[in-house]
């Protein structure tokens, strides 16, 4: 059993959106909705303006609020700790979309069921990395088994200041962020 996790290093991110486009291609995400975006926020003032980068996607909570609320069990966590949607069971009640504190879910306009980042579970089964991680040109995204000390994600996070988004809600995110040093760059 593995416990997949991802690390997003905002210091290495250049906001190129390759990850977002790779995600769209790999997962056939329809227009107008996204499983993944990188938000670029202007910060600071002249003469020292800068940008701050944030990854917006499912953070793959260890304790996901979207799973217990699902009335049919369509929303579930698999053996590798990845939260997924069984589209055959989903009735589109939007309870999970509302219950997610990260706004990481949406109703897919084509399939009419809840949709979200899956850590590219099919690619993992084929021995590949998630599309966003593979596409990232700067190595800002690292992926691997959180329980193995020599995994890419553990090595990339070693000794770094790491933020788990909205950790105070008790969700235990497995997508962690290394925030921009000094706020802007």
């Amino acid at each position: 059993m593995t416990k997949y996790g991802m690390l997003y290093d905002a210091n290495k991110c250049i906001g190129c959106q390759s990850c977002s486009i790779a995600c769209r291609e790999a997962n056939e995400v329809p227009r107008g909705v996204s499983r993944l975006q990188v938000w670029i926020e202007p910060k600071g003032t002249f003469p020292a303006p800068g940008l701050e980068y944030h990854r917006k996607s499912c953070v793959q909570c260890d304790n996901p609020p979207c799973v217990p609320v699902c009335p049919t069990g369509a929303s579930y966590k698999n053996a590798d700790g990845i939260t997924l949607v069984d589209s055959a069971k989903c009735i589109g009640c939007k309870y999970c979309v509302l219950a997610c504190p990260y706004q990481a879910r949406f109703i897919n306009p084509v399939t009419h069921v809840a949709d979200k980042c899956t850590f590219c579970v099919d690619r993992l089964a084929a021995g590949e990395k998630p599309a966003c991680v593979q596409q990232c040109p700067t190595g800002a995204l690292q992926f691997g088994d959180l329980e193995k000390a020599d995994s890419d994600v553990r090595k990339a996070g070693a000794g770094k200041y790491i933020v788990k988004p909205k950790e105070h809600l008790g969700t235990s995110p497995k997508l962690v962020e290394v925030p921009t040093k000094g706020g802007v760059r």
Partner: protein, 337 residues
């Protein structure tokens, strides 16, 4: 936040729209109508009072409102044709799934109760026999418990969400239950009075409007607790609470609709409404109204007692206030995250 790339509509989209708010309202109203109908029936000393216009109205409103509400729930699904999955896959950590179970029990029980009230009007023999067979205390107990559970579950449905500060408060289930009971009583009073064909039991009317007045006073207290609680919870909770009360259309709906028209005016009207009964007066407006509703019978020995206009206006406002409360909570909750 300025976003320089991509369509961000999905991050601020309202997920649950008015059908959900109206459903929450109808479910509470249904539960309230069933509760008052059972209470009036059990307080009755004879069959005549036990089948009065109010008991009949409440027992009919309960199943009709819940069935309409369930219809709204299904049409609001993104995948409505898959709704039957709710009945074959259960997840009792989900308030929605618990709610489905409650409704699966509540809906037939509310129909059974209506059957016991209308059993003597039913021409179909076997149906009438069922009505007689289940006209027992145990049915009243089960129906009361289910009604309380349905009324409260509509609040737990929202309070279970950690993502939304305005929903994630301890008092929402009680608020919705109390507001639902007040709307249920009010609708029972209105429908009972307007459709009355027999004697109107004034003690039942007084009892109903008194309970209703207590309910809206209680509702005001719970709303106060809710926002004070949000304020002291700090952070996102305090911000969402103060934004909900001060910003945009929904703040206006709250102050004018929920507090003003839904609670304050009915409380004042209740005082006059009570006087209206005691003084046994009939205002010009009341006379016009009672001629308009010509089915309204004059109770024996009640002199020129007219159609209780103030009581009806107050009840209609309570119903509207209860609906606006659901709309306010559902929309303001989703906006202020």
């Amino acid at each position: 936040m300025d976003i320089t790339w991509g369509d961000v509509a999905q991050y601020s989209e309202i997920q649950w729209h008015w059908p959900i708010a109206v459903y929450l309202f109808l479910a509470g109203l249904s539960a309230g109508a069933l509760i008052i109908s059972i209470l009036l029936r059990r307080r009755s000393v004879n069959d005549d009072a036990g089948c009065s216009c109010f008991v009949r109205a409440g027992s009919l409103i309960a199943p009709v409102a819940i069935v309409l509400g369930l219809g709204l729930l299904i049409i609001d699904l993104a995948n409505p044709l898959n709704f039957w999955q709710l009945l074959i896959h259960w997840n009792f950590s989900s308030v929605m799934s618990i709610g489905v179970l409650l409704l699966v029990l509540y809906t037939p029980v509310s129909l059974l109760f209506a059957l016991t009230v209308f059993k003597d009007d039913i021409k179909i023999g076997w149906l009438r026999q069922i009505g007689y067979a289940v006209d027992r205390t145990w049915l009243h107990v089960i129906a009361l418990l289910l009604a309380l559970a349905v009324g409260a579950y509509t609040g737990f449905l929202l309070s279970a969400m950690v993502s939304t500060p305005l929903f994630n408060t301890a008092v929402i289930p009680l608020l919705f239950l109390v507001s639902g009971v007040s709307a249920g009583i009010a609708s029972t009073v209105v429908v009972g009075l307007v459709l009355a064909r027999r004697r109107i039991f004034l003690d039942q009317l007084d009892f109903s409007s008194h309970v209703d007045a207590y309910m809206i006073a209680f509702e005001l207290a719970i709303l106060f607790l809710m926002f004070v609680g949000l304020y002291y919870a700090g952070g996102a909770h305090a911000a969402a609470g103060s934004a909900a009360l001060t910003q945009g259309t929904w703040a206006l709906v709250f102050w004018v609709g929920v507090i003003g028209l839904g609670i304050a005016v009915p409380m004042v009207l209740h005082l006059f409404g009570a006087k209206e009964k005691v003084a046994d007066r009939s205002s010009t407006m009341a006379r016009v109204f009672s001629q308009f509703v010509n089915r309204y019978p004059k109770p024996e020995g009640a002199g020129n007692r007219a159609f209780p206009v103030l009581t009806v206006i107050s009840a209609l406002l309570v119903i509207a206030g209860s609906l606006m409360l659901r709309l306010f909570v559902v929309y303001a909750g989703q906006i202020n995250i």
